[in-house]
């Protein structure tokens, strides 16, 4: 308490420094006056009395200084002196100050930009109430595989729990078509179960939320609009409530509008975007549907730990095993993760990598500034020596120099913050569309306290980092030696060695960055060069929804396909048209299958992608047939059931057998619509196509003909899925999209069609995140190379300048130009090769963290390492060449005369 009081009084003193000064003057003046009066009383003449009083008093300045120290903080006072002195010193050498501040501003700015992005994705908590208590359910295996989502059957088991969590909710996101002014428009939408809005804290701006009875099966069609759609489609009018909205051709009654700031995009993910329409999921509480098409989240009750929830989930998994035998494999169980962790997903590693990379750039910038400071240290040797001789302690000198560094880094930090705010916009302009949580038009990336704290911290740490080495170096030098010798030769030598080491460190770091960037560039090239398994050129795709109730039977869909085929084949530039449930690189459905006649060691033999296709699907996409045959118009509902598999499936299940002799039963375990599936004869093997996940081996895939789909599955697909049309065209595909869309509408009785996308667009999007990492890392790598080259140049130029005298003597004694050249280049070569050796070793130990982002190139790819090393060697040579040439142009007479 007493200490606090004293601290408080000092703080007050600090704030009222001016008044303190005046009070002190008054108090001392009063004292003097009293003493003077006493002296006069004892008989001294007035003048003598004043002089005597003064003399007795001693040093007023010292007294004032002491009082100031008592009343404020002594360290603060002298620190303020340091700062003033530092400002004066920096102002005296503006070139140095500007170079230092700019280098730092670039480094800090790049870090601020990268951190803003990382902050938005990884650190900023979701904007839902109490997000630390929201968990997401999943199925995990001991082997470490995990899947966060669930089926209606799993949801029903989870909703029996009352104690561990409340507001359990299932939801899923997708696209739906809405009837707009001109044709149709595809918009993101969400289906949500009863407690969704209370779980995520959503409120309405108009109208109301769903009633519990509106979320029961067959309760009718209702919709809640996003605030954005309300403004766009209804101009924010209250008339929207109660009116009808055609979604996928089906009328829905609008009952409410969500408030503007509700963040649906974070949940839906960057691929879907902000849901514009919310509809009730209307789950059947008795459903045995085993399709894992839902996301399931809940709010933990207060006091329930994550461990307790996990234990409860394992128990519920056993209940589920009893109710739905054969669904969970023995090694699988239920578990949950925090919402935030699930939302971040795969984005974590690449973002940390890029943040690490930009940190390297800052370290290199630090090394450059430290090098500059070392040079300055030599210039200021006399000044420091004089101050030391006048009694400044080593600590004081170090503090003074560190204050200068701190000032530089803070200026760099402020400028860097401004630069970072600009740079983050550039960064987001490269946004591949796969970064979660940054929100529509990147509104989630903002300058919050975390970013400010990060920049402040980085600036200070930077100042200490680049400042401490030169400061300690300067302070260690002995005053007497420095004053006696003219240049302080021994210091220069040691200093030059330290600078050499700094440049070695710069090359090491820059090399690691460039190796990483080059590996990503090679990945990107490999992705461009390697065939995706289909021919993406001049292929247009359009997604069509069959929701309007006409397509509950397979025969109806087959008829639709025939009608459309007939019409679009009359369009002049359509080479071939095909149709399937999914096209490559898009989200897909995977089903379990069993191989007929093979002994069972588990509930099923395998799991594979599943696609429903028309006979011309493979031709339209250019997927090659490897064995057997493709589907034909003769594969109908009445002909024997058939299936086509891909090469990956053959390699995994029939490595030494003829797959065409085997039969598959697909998806029968899923229950109702699938339980009528019978054994299908494998009639063909097609090539593998590239999947969405980089570097993963091709997965088994099965294709079944549209005409042989059970009616129930067709109805399910019409309700939930899409039909994707594929057109191979003669010219630019997008140029024909309007014409084709028109034909589709005419032939289908005006079914809604989503905007056309070419397969090249889809392929481009699939490599967008690789491209993002590649571009960003290349920019960082390039900046690092440039900084390192500057470092080498600066060091060599300075050492040539320092050795002018020596070089001129050598030349006067007959040294040839080439010898002088090699003198300079030799030193540079030593430093460069040291940096390259260390850099290669460091890169080799770091690049494995890139593995998940690489494709077609090993993290230790020798060609990459060699090429980058050679590049560094040549850049370093060029950087050293200029000073080396200058050395040979030294005129011995001039140089010697100068001495």
């Amino acid at each position: 308490m007493r200490r606090l009081g004293a601290f408080y009084r000092r703080l007050l003193g600090l704030l009222r420094r001016r008044r303190l000064e005046r009070d002190l003057d008054d108090e001392l003046a009063f004292h003097l006056a009293m003493r003077e009066a006493d002296h006069r009383e004892s008989g001294l003449p007035p003048d003598g009395a004043r002089v005597a009083a003064r003399r007795q008093f001693g040093s007023v300045t010292l007294l004032k200084e002491q009082a100031r120290d008592t009343w404020t903080f002594p360290s603060f006072e002298s620190w303020l002196q340091d700062v003033r002195f530092a400002v004066r010193t920096l102002r005296r050498s503006p070139a140095f100050a500007v170079a230092g501040v700019l280098t730092l501003a670039l480094g800090i700015g790049a870090n601020t930009a990268m951190f803003s992005l990382v902050n938005a994705v990884l650190f900023r908590p979701p904007s839902y109430p109490d997000p630390q208590r929201i968990i997401v359910f999943g199925t995990v295996a001991f082997s470490g595989t995990e899947f966060f989502g669930g089926s209606p059957a799993k949801f029903n088991v989870l909703s029996e729990e009352r104690d561990a969590w409340g507001s359990l909710s299932a939801y899923r996101f997708g696209f739906i078509t809405i009837r707009g002014g001109t044709g149709s428009d595809e918009i993101p939408y969400a289906q949500v179960s009863a407690h969704f809005f209370s779980l995520f804290g959503a409120h309405t701006a108009a109208g109301r939320l769903f009633l519990p009875e509106e979320n029961r099966p067959n309760a009718g069609r209702f919709a809640i609009l996003s605030f954005g759609l309300w403004q766009r489609a209804f101009a924010g009018s209250d008339g929207a409530i109660g009116s009808t909205l055609l979604l996928d051709g089906v009328p829905h009654t609008i009952i409410g509008v969500l408030e503007n700031h509700f963040d649906g995009e974070t949940l839906a993910g960057p691929f879907i975007g902000t849901p514009a329409v919310w509809v009730p999921l209307q789950l059947d509480p008795a459903s045995t549907d085993q399709g894992n098409t839902l996301e399931i989240a809940a709010r933990l009750r207060r006091g329930v730990t994550a461990e307790a929830a996990s234990a409860r989930l394992r128990a519920l998994a056993e209940d589920f095993r009893l109710k739905s035998p054969g669904i969970l494999r023995p090694e699988e169980t239920f578990d949950a993760k925090l919402l935030q962790d699930v939302l971040i997903g795969d984005a974590r590693t690449p973002l940390w990598l890029l943040l690490g990379a930009v940190g390297f750039v800052l370290l290199i910038a630090c090394a450059n500034v430290a090098s500059l400071l070392l040079v300055r240290g030599t210039v200021r040797i006399r000044e420091i020596a004089i101050r030391t001789a006048l009694g400044a302690g080593r600590g004081r000198v170090v503090r003074q120099l560190l204050t200068e560094s701190a000032l530089l880094s803070l200026a760099g930090g402020l400028l860097g913050l401004a630069f970072g705010m600009v740079a983050v916009r550039w960064l987001l302009a490269l946004n591949p569309g796969t970064i979660p949580r940054i929100g529509p038009s990147a509104a989630g990336v903002s300058l919050d306290w975390r970013v400010l704290a990060f920049t402040a911290l980085v600036s200070l740490a930077t100042g200490l980092l680049f400042g401490s080495l030169p400061a300690l170096h300067a302070a260690r030098a002995r005053a007497d030696v420095m004053l006696r010798t003219s240049g302080g030769h021994s210091t220069t030598k040691a200093q030059s060695r330290v600078r050499g080491l700094l440049v070695v460190a710069e090359i090491t770091l820059a090399l690691v960055l460039l190796v990483g960037a080059t590996l990503l560039i090679r990945t990107f090239i490999a992705l461009q060069v390697q065939s995706p398994g289909f021919d993406p050129h001049r292929v247009l795709t359009m997604r069509m929804a069959l929701r309007d109730g006409r397509f509950g039977k397979t025969a109806g869909v087959v008829q639709l396909v025939e009608d459309i085929m007939r019409r679009v084949n009359t369009v002049p530039d359509v080479v071939v048209a095909g149709e399937g449930a999914w096209v490559p690189l898009q989200p897909y459905l995977a089903l379990r299958f069993t191989i007929v006649g093979r002994p069972m060691d588990g509930p099923y033999h395998g799991m594979g992608r599943w696609n429903i296709v028309s006979p011309t699907y493979f031709e339209a996409l250019g997927i090659p047939l490897r064995r057997g045959r493709l589907f034909t118009d003769h594969d109908t509902a009445s002909s024997p059931p058939v299936v086509i598999v891909n090469e990956a499936m053959v390699r995994q299940f029939w490595p030494d057998e003829d797959p065409l002799r085997h039969q598959l039963v697909i998806g029968r375990d899923l229950g109702p619509p699938f339980n009528v599936e019978t054994a299908r004869q494998i009639v063909g093997v097609v090539g593998n196509v590239r999947e969405g996940v980089l570097g993963r081996d091709p997965q088994p895939t099965t294709y079944v003909p549209q005409a042989q789909l059970p009616d129930g599955v067709t109805a399910l697909q019409a309700r939930l899925g899409f039909m994707t049309w594929i057109f191979r065209t003669r010219g630019e595909p997008h140029a024909m999209s309007a014409r084709i869309e028109h034909e589709l509408r005419l032939a289908s009785g005006d079914l809604p069609v989503a905007p056309a996308r070419s397969m090249e667009d889809i392929l481009g999007q699939s490599t967008a995140s690789t491209k993002f990492a590649m571009v960003v890392l290349s920019v960082f790598g390039g900046a690092a190379l440039l900084l390192a080259a500057t470092g080498i140049y600066g060091l060599m130029a300075y050492s040539v300048q320092q050795r002018t005298h020596e070089i001129s003597i050598r030349m006067a004694l007959g040294a040839r130009r080439s010898e002088v050249m090699s003198l300079v280049l030799g030193r540079s070569a030593w430093i460069t090769s040291g940096g390259i050796v260390l850099g290669v070793a460091a890169a080799a130990s770091v690049t494995r963290y890139l593995r998940g982002m690489l494709f077609g190139v090993s993290p230790l790819d020798p060609a990459t390492f060699l090429a980058v090393s050679l590049m560094f060697a040549s850049v370093a040579m060029v950087a050293a060449f200029v000073p080396a040439r200058r050395a040979t142009q030294v005129d011995p007479l001039v140089a010697l005369r100068c001495e």
């Binding site: 009084r9 007294l63 009082a67």
Partner: protein
């Protein structure tokens, strides 16, 4: 705290604070009176220099043992008056007790020779 505790030749180190507290305990007074008073009461044996007096006064004020206010002196000048606080009184008692003990001990040692 980086303060140089300057003791005059005839003042034991560390006792100045105690002497000031004791002096001020007799009533509110300004710095000059404190110095004069110590000199007078000690019969001119102890002399407190300004260079030690004011840092000590300020130190004691910062630590909360003295309270100060500005007033007008007899000769119509602006003067700073110091008063002992309750906290200061406790500190004085503590220091006085420890002083008595040490002084007694020293006296005993000196007499034993």
């Amino acid at each position: 705290m980086g303060l140089r505790e300057r003791a005059p030749d005839d003042l034991l180190p560390g006792t100045l604070d105690m002497l000031i507290l004791k002096t001020v305990s007799r009533g509110t007074m300004h710095g000059y009176t404190v110095a004069q008073s110590i000199q007078r009461v000690s019969r001119e044996v102890l002399r407190v220099e300004e260079g030690a007096l004011y840092p000590a006064l300020h130190r004691l004020e910062v630590r909360g043992f003295l309270r100060s206010e500005w007033g007008v002196s007899d000769n119509n000048r602006r003067a700073k008056y110091y008063t002992l606080t309750a906290q200061g009184r406790r500190e004085l008692e503590r220091e006085a007790a420890s002083w008595t003990r040490v002084a007694g001990a020293i006296a005993r040692v000196m007499q034993s020779a």
